[in-house]
Symmetry: C2
Subunit: 458 residues, 2 copies
């Protein structure tokens, strides 16, 4: 199982640490009850995804096999929650240079691209690399109204039609709401193969819905093990005992750290494969917990800024700040076993400060540097804890990601906020509509065109 | 020229903003004087790199041409400051899928890899992709004692020898100190082609030394324009007038923001090409400004945590937190022109919330979303400013990166700290030595082996 070591969060390990006695409080249990009693309801449908998808999993596996037989490129059109999970799991479980390998070495999986921005250079660059005739596009947007994704969709379908005529629709799979929005209508009109995102599954909680599962299956990732791991974590984290529930404990202990001034949380995996898990977590944590008002309407402006870091690489970039800067962060180490053992040659050089490496392994180096950095940060009285995965496979990754989602759900409940909305992005969306001259936004457009009295430009 | 718009940092634009009158103070001028009077001296040799490298630039260009003729792969062995600049500029100025293109489309440049971690999976994955006989390795470490880089060096040379015998040394270029450390000795012993890192140029300030310039030249990046841009910024930022010196102003205004509780600074480029510029800046800012003591030895624990974000992608991930969470950050927008204009097809759909996009361009979408997000954050009283690059080419990138380095130098001077050291990583380094059983570290090894009385593991 994945292990959690919170020792260095306590006042027994670091000055300004947390008193273990303060962890247990009534708010913890009401948060627990709120999350568990709403499991599978409202926007908490994501909690049931590891257990209720037998039928859709079969459809996904069949579709994936067909995609592998007929296509050399698989491109996800999606942004935010429609992209981050795919990037994270792809990077964790496929070869680190997947697209550089010949098809056989990829296990017949297509080359994989995620178009997660509206960047014109990226769009052009993609078309320089793929052969449209051999490309499957997976267009992912629950609402069918995401501007970036729908722009990509319009560009891609236009090109596909020019290139393939009638048959272009066999190059698009839509992953979207079954009932609402534009994309499902377009999918029905043009007979696209379609997968559904359940209504009660928001973007950042959708990685175990077809949003993630289809790309994973196309990439030969064992989605059944992934879901099994997630389901196992569901069981573990349904414990009402704080001391045996790592998701609840992670939420509570981060809350206590925030109360002590840690408005920053660093997630620092010690493995290149886990780098983008941190990106995925950053969205989950930032969008879910960063809220202006609580459920009673009180202005609270809560949130903790997630920072992604990578060990050992960022020891040479960020650890100086973590060790000596303000006491404003929690560092979460994420360590794992490796499939590969890489030995450094035995043969000694003439240099003492190199020789100690000879005959050891890169694995020992990674592990020692993690332990050394943790020791140094603890010594410098910096709050930190460690998550240990026995190895990086689909099963443990399923556990880890479900744990992070459950932690987020518990944290939202502790703060008594709406974990699942994102009202703070509406202002920007409306302003974009106004700048595009969309009807109904004339007033805002006028406001946007006002140049401030006092400008300050160099 | 690059433009800086600080309007939304002022109290005329946002509540809790900065009073323009407070920007000018005597500490600003003493910081200015300290930096300018030490130009080219001590650890400020980096300031002169844009102007004093005519000879080495010629050697680099000649070497690059030879590498292009004889090699299909170019691999950087380096970590931290030896890697981040190369990754940033490669991503900014080469094709976004450089390695996916055939050699002709790469302008005869080799495929490019940076091994910036000691990860055993990454090492193995690299060897799955390259042909040793056609690979040039650029080993970069000033001290020649960086454990990760030297481990890679030992592994690579061992394999090269097995594969190529005597001639293996023609596959290694060493970039290192001319006088000190192991790598220069190894280079002389084995007759590697060598480039030098001046003594007064630290890793995070080394991008315009051969550390960056050689890989850039191999990738067909116009290093002369890059240096010209950097030199131009040197001139601009040598102004003693705060109102015409963007580096000094950036430092001063961030300092004022930190004083108001903004312990976080987000750098948010609106272009995929600029994504890794944020990574490079994060090292520069974190390691230089995150310090426990000032020059008088007083404990200060200063620093501002840099966060990398990407527009518009992270509008769907982080902007909810930026708009509604705690008032604890400055968002720095980095916008640029694009070489490519990508039109969204004219043909209307039946959906209003998609139709407004039709006939527009992705460029307009990127630009409008940046302006809209900036408007929304300002409206929500969040401090932000904007850096505008006319386009992303070597010249403007040179300007931008030199500006960031100058800003960092001014900031360190304002705080009266040593901008160029990193004492906070020594603790971790020593603990790594101890865990590896290196002689002289037995005491520490003993301390590291102690299991704390109170463990807290789930």
């Amino acid at each position: 199982m994945i292990k959690f070591d919170f020792t260095n969060m306590l006042d027994t390990a670091v000055k300004n640490g947390i008193d273990k006695k303060d962890l247990l409080s009534s708010e913890v249990y009401s948060a627990y009850d709120l999350v568990q009693s709403n499991r599978g309801k409202g926007m908490q449908e994501w909690m049931d995804l590891p257990e209720n998808q037998d039928q859709v999993v079969q459809d996904i596996l069949d579709t994936a096999r067909e995609v592998q037989s007929n296509f050399d490129y698989f491109v996800v059109l999606g942004i935010g929650g429609s992209a981050l999970g795919s990037i994270a799991v792809f990077n964790a479980l496929c070869h680190l240079y997947h697209n550089d390998l010949p098809k056989v070495a990829r296990g017949n999986a297509p080359k994989f691209y995620v178009l997660d921005n509206a960047d014109p250079e990226r769009m052009r660059a993609l078309f320089d690399c793929i052969d449209l005739k051999k490309t499957m596009f997976n267009c992912i947007t629950k609402s069918g109204a995401t501007s970036e994704t729908m722009s990509q969709y319009l560009i891609v379908t236009n090109l596909l039609k020019q290139c393939l005529g009638e048959d272009y629709n066999k190059h698009i799979i839509a992953t979207t709401s079954a009932n609402k929005g534009n994309l499902i209508k377009l999918a029905r009109e043009h007979s696209y193969k379609t997968f559904y995102i359940p209504e009660g599954v928001g973007g950042r909680f959708s990685v175990f819905s077809p949003v993630g599962l289809l790309p994973f299956a196309v990439l030969n990732i064992d989605i059944i093990s992934l879901l099994k791991g997630a389901s196992e974590m569901n069981k573990i984290c349904s414990s009402r005992n704080l001391l045996t529930n790592p998701a609840l404990m992670s939420a509570v202990i981060q809350k206590k750290a925030i109360d002590k001034g840690c408005n920053i949380s660093v997630l620092m995996p010690y493995a290149d494969k886990l780098k983008y898990i941190a990106d995925w977590f950053c969205q989950l944590w930032a969008e879910s917990i960063g809220k202006a008002v609580d459920k009673s309407g009180k202005v609270v402006n809560v949130g903790q800024t997630p920072v992604k870091s990578l060990g050992v690489t960022d020891q040479h970039s960020q650890v100086q700040l973590y060790a000596e800067g303000p006491y404003d962060k929690v560092v979460v180490f994420l360590e794992c076993g490796f499939d590969t053992v890489y030995k450094i040659p035995e043969e000694k050089t003439e240099f003492d400060d190199v020789n100690f490496l000879c005959g050891q392994t890169l694995n020992q180096l990674m592990d020692s540097e993690m332990r050394a950095t943790r020791y140094a940060l603890t010594k410098a009285n910096r709050l930190n804890y460690t998550i240990t995965m026995p190895c990086v496979n689909a099963y443990y990754l399923g556990q880890l990601m479900q744990m992070f989602m459950l932690q987020t759900a518990y944290m939202g409940a502790i703060y008594n906020i709406d974990t699942y909305n994102q009202p703070g992005v509406e202002g920007g969306k409306n302003a974009t509509y106004a700048l595009f001259g969309r009807s109904g936004y004339q007033e805002l457009a006028k406001e946007l065109s006002v140049i401030p009295d006092e400008q300050f430009i160099i």
